[in-house]
């Protein structure tokens, strides 16, 4: 896993995501989810391209039930883009890298 994508827990969500100065892409995942593991390298590549412009974090939904419940997540992988503490975009399921780039460009 890329060391630049930090794994955060329920307690850190507010400070790391909602109060972040940069926009944040939160990757909700779990070890038992094949597509979540499969897209991880793509997300790491995007992190390298957009370093300094958008912050990337991961939330393991198995270990952190509160945050997924708060955002009514019933499917993973789910990517939620936060800007100034608000949801700016949301993508559920495996999508093309080009779609993810488009979504990131859309919130920058």
């Amino acid at each position: 896993m890329s060391e630049n994508i930090i794994e955060i827990d329920d307690d850190a969500f507010e400070s790391e995501v909602l109060k972040s100065n940069l926009p944040v892409l939160v990757d909700f995942w779990a070890p038992w989810c094949g597509p979540c593991r499969a897209i991880a390298p793509t997300i790491e590549a995007l992190e390298k391209s957009y370093a300094g412009k958008i912050k990337f974090v991961k939330v393991n939904v198995d270990e952190n039930p509160l945050t997924p419940t708060k955002y009514a997540i019933q499917a993973i992988p789910t990517l939620i883009f936060f800007k100034d503490g608000q949801i700016a975009d949301q993508i559920t399921g495996m999508v093309a890298k080009a779609k993810l780039e488009e979504a990131i460009e859309g919130i920058l």
Partner: protein, 308 residues
């Protein structure tokens, strides 16, 4: 012979694509594989695979996909995450467009696979809010809940059985009076106390305030409708090929599957297709990988016989 960026471009990174990559890498072809999202293909959402030889105890779809990927990488296959947006044919040279750039190649193998078919009864508003195509991804969110599953083939029955690890009750809605799934799966479904099969029926609608609360089921013989209180709706009613990017470059059937002959040749010389994307009588990993090996052999023959 004309100069091109590649001998072979492989479009898609599922089992057929990775197998084509393995064969092409071993043949020392100048090859690249483009995958739009993540290598693995449909297999990575499958909970358990027990009809692919060599794994006597079965293997998870993700693990099988990862092994194929690692095998291709170990042989030096060049894999890039790129979305192929179109292909142009100019005699023997093909141009593969990738949005921001394009590459030229002598041959192309289309292995772009297929995606789950939708019901088209307004379920898209509930995507990720109860509607799912992936039991291994989303099953754990439905612990102790009631769900509906739609379909009667291998995928529907296999994944329904997997879901019963989590759910309290599963209604399997099937449009016919008997399942199409292979017998061993039917036996397991019939023995499973949590599964109730609703015969001769289709899902005609669903509703809920923020997420699925209610799934409407219509008996196609009697026309009678009933509501099932369910928090999830898993859809496995077949697949639709990922061929929209091809436009009308290749001949396809009415469903968009690419016509090929037994050498995996399409209607355009130098373009081949393999796996679920073509008009194959059986859509399995084991047939997809066989197709792919043949497609690479045909691509090599095509290059050997090129005119200029």
């Amino acid at each position: 012979m004309k100069q091109t960026d590649y001998d072979l471009v492989i479009v898609g990174g599922g089992p057929a694509g990775l197998t084509a990559g393995i064969y092409a890498a071993r043949a020392r072809m100048n090859v690249v594989l483009y995958e739009k999202a993540a290598p693995g293909g449909q297999v990575i959402v499958s909970d358990w695979i027990e009809n692919y030889p060599g794994f006597p105890d079965g293997i998870s779809g993700y693990d099988l996909g990862e092994k194929m990927l690692n095998q291709a990488k170990n042989l030096g296959l060049n894999i890039e995450i790129e979305d192929v947006t179109s292909i142009q044919v100019d005699g023997e040279i093909k141009t593969v467009n990738l949005g921001k750039k394009s590459v030229s190649t002598k041959t192309v193998i289309i292995v772009s696979g297929a995606s789950p078919k939708k019901l088209n009864i307004g379920e898209s508003q509930f995507m990720g809010k109860g509607v799912s195509f992936c039991a291994t991804c989303d099953g754990p969110f439905f612990r102790d809940k009631t769900v509906v599953a739609v379909g009667g083939g291998d995928t529907a029955v296999q994944e329904s059985i997997f879901l019963t690890k989590f759910v309290k009750k599963l209604y399997l809605i099937h449009r016919r009076g008997e399942l199409r799934a292979t017998k061993i799966l039917q036996e397991r479904a019939h023995k499973n106390d949590k599964i109730e099969i609703v015969w001769d029926s289709v899902v005609s609608g669903m509703d809920g305030l923020f997420a699925v609360e209610n799934v409407r089921v219509r008996n196609i013989k009697t026309g009678e409708e009933k509501d099932i209180k369910a928090q999830g709706c898993f859809i496995w009613i077949g697949i639709t090929p990922n061929t929209a990017f091809l436009g009308d470059v290749l001949k396809m059937d009415d469903g968009g599957f690419i016509y090929t002959n037994e050498n995996m040749e399409t209607s355009v010389p130098g373009i081949f297709a393999a796996g679920d994307v073509r008009t194959t009588p059986l859509k399995q990993i084991v047939t997809a990988v066989g197709d792919a090996a043949i497609a690479v052999m045909s691509a090599e023959h095509y290059i050997e016989n090129m005119q200029d």
